[in-house]
Amino acid sequence: MELRKTTVRQAADAVWKGEITAHQLIEKTLKNCSVLNEGLNIFTYLAGIDAVEQAKAVDQKIKNGEKPPLAGIPVAVKDDLCYGVLPTGLGSPAFSEFISPVTAAAVERLMEAGAVVIGKTNLDDMGQGSTTLSSPNGPTVNPWLAGRTAGSAGAAAVATGVCMLAVESDSGGALRQGASHCGVAGLRPTTGRVSRHGLNAHCSSFARVGITAFSGEDISEVLDLISGFDERDAATAVCREGISEIIKAPGSKDITIGYPVTAFDYLEPELREIFEQARERFAEGGYRIEEVDLGLLREGLLAYYVIAMAEAFSNHARFDGIRFGKTAEADSLEEMYEQSRAEILGREARRRSIFGAFLLSKDNYGRYYRQALKIWEMVRQEFETVFERCDLLMLPAARSLPRSLEGESGFLEGWSEDLYCAPVSLSGMPALTIPAGQVDQLPVGMQLVGPPFSEKMLLAVGSASGSTGK
C-alpha cells in the first residue's frame, strides 16, 4: 500500500478487511521514516517499538470484532504536543529527555480511534515560528525543493507520504503556511472546537490544535473524532451543548466567496496570478464571487505579535530549571535561574520573552499592549462584517515562497510572513489551507476562511476545489 495514493478511509478499510495488518503498515512506515528523516530532518523522535505495540493493539481490537475508524493510520505529532511515551522536546535542548506526564487530548482521541503515533516532528524554538529555521535540531527541508524550508515538519511528513496525518499547533500560521509550502491540506479549527489540553502554547490566546493531511477529504475523516468538549480546556465548553455546524454543498450558487482585492497587493506578481486563477476556477465552479474589504491585515499582524510576545513572556516563566527544564549548576540561586533559563530559551524564545516584558512595562503597556487589544477587537469585527455578505473568504496562506535554508534574514522579515495568517488567528475563525498552484517547482497554498464552526463547509469546498498534494 502506497500511502500517498491512498485516502485515510481506504487505508483503514484495508486494515479492517485484513488486506494489510496495522502492524505491517506501521513497520513499513517506520522504515520509510528512517530513510526520509536523514535527508529532510522531519522527526525529532521516532516511536519505534512503541508504534509497533500500538499497531498490534489495533490488530487485536479488529480480531475482537471492533472497527476503529482510523485503524493503523500513521500519525505524526508536533513536538510541542505532549505524548506521554516520547519526549516532548519543545524545540529546546533542555527538554530533549523530558517525558510529559500527560498526553495531549487530540492525540489521545486519535489513538482511541485506532491511529498510531509514529513520531514527534521538528519545530521552531519553543514552537515560535513558521519555518523551523530556529529549531535547535536544524530546519526541516522542503520535500519539493531541497534548499528551501518546509515550513512545518508535519506538512513535510504528510507530503512525503511517510504518514497520513499530522497533529500540529498553529498560533500565527505555522500549520497553514507549512501546508502551503508542502502542497497539502491543513486545518486550523474554530476556537473551542479542539481541546488544547497537552499543548505547550507560547501564546494561549491564539494557539490551536489542528490537522494536516493529504487532502480536505482526509481531514474530514478526523475532525469529528478530535472535536468536542474536554473539561481540561475551558474554551471547549462551547461544544458541551453541541455546536451549530454551518454546512453548504460545494459548487452551489448558495455559496458566496469573498475576494479581498487589496489584500493581494502585498504579493509578487507570479503569486498574485495564482490567486486570480483560483478566483476564476471558483467562478467557473459555480460559486458567487464578491469583492470585499479586508483593510486591517497589516495592523492585525502587528497586534498579533505584540500580544504573542506579551503572552510568551508569561508562558515561558515556568521554564526556570525548577518546575521545568534542567537545573543549571551555579553558585547562587539568582545565577541558577539565569543560567537555567539561558539553557532552556533559545534565541527566538529569548527575543519574544524579553520584548514581551518590555511591551508590558508601565511605560509601554498602554501604548502597545492595550492598543493591540483594541485592534484585535477591530480585526474580529472586520471578519464578522465580511461573513455577513460571504460564506467564506479566500486568502493566501503565505506572503512568499518557502524561505531559503541558507543565508540570514532579519527576524522581522520572518514575522512579516504571517501577514495573512496572524489576522485570521485574531478572528478566532477556522481556516483551511489547500494547494492552489505552483511557482518555480514549489506549491502555493490558499486559505479558505469561514465563520465559526464552518469547517465542514470549508472542507467540502476545499476537497472539491483544491488539487491534492499527491
Binding site: G192, A234, I322, T327, S332, R350, S361, Y368, W376
Partner: protein, 94 residues
Amino acid sequence: METSAAGLEKAIKAIKIGLSLPEQDHLHRELEELLGWLEPLLAFNTGETEPLLFGHEAVNVLREDHPQEGRLAELQEAAPNFAGGFYLVPKIMD
C-alpha cells in the same frame, strides 16, 4: 519616559536570563527595529473601540466537588529535583 535601553535592561532582569553584553547590544538593536516596525500600530486610530480581552466566550468548567487522588507522583517525576513533597532549589544559606 525611559529610554529603550533602560527599558530593555529592566525586561532582561524581569525574565531572569543570563545574557552577555554583546547579546544585550544585539537585542537592543533588534528592539529599535521592532519599535520602528510597530509604528503603524501606534498611529492607527482605534476610535472608541474597547480592548478585546478574551477571544472566546469561555465559561467556568464546573466539576463535581469530591476528593481526587491527583497525579502528584507523575508530576514529581517530571520535575528536575523533588523530595519530601517539595521542588528543590539550590541552597542559598550555609
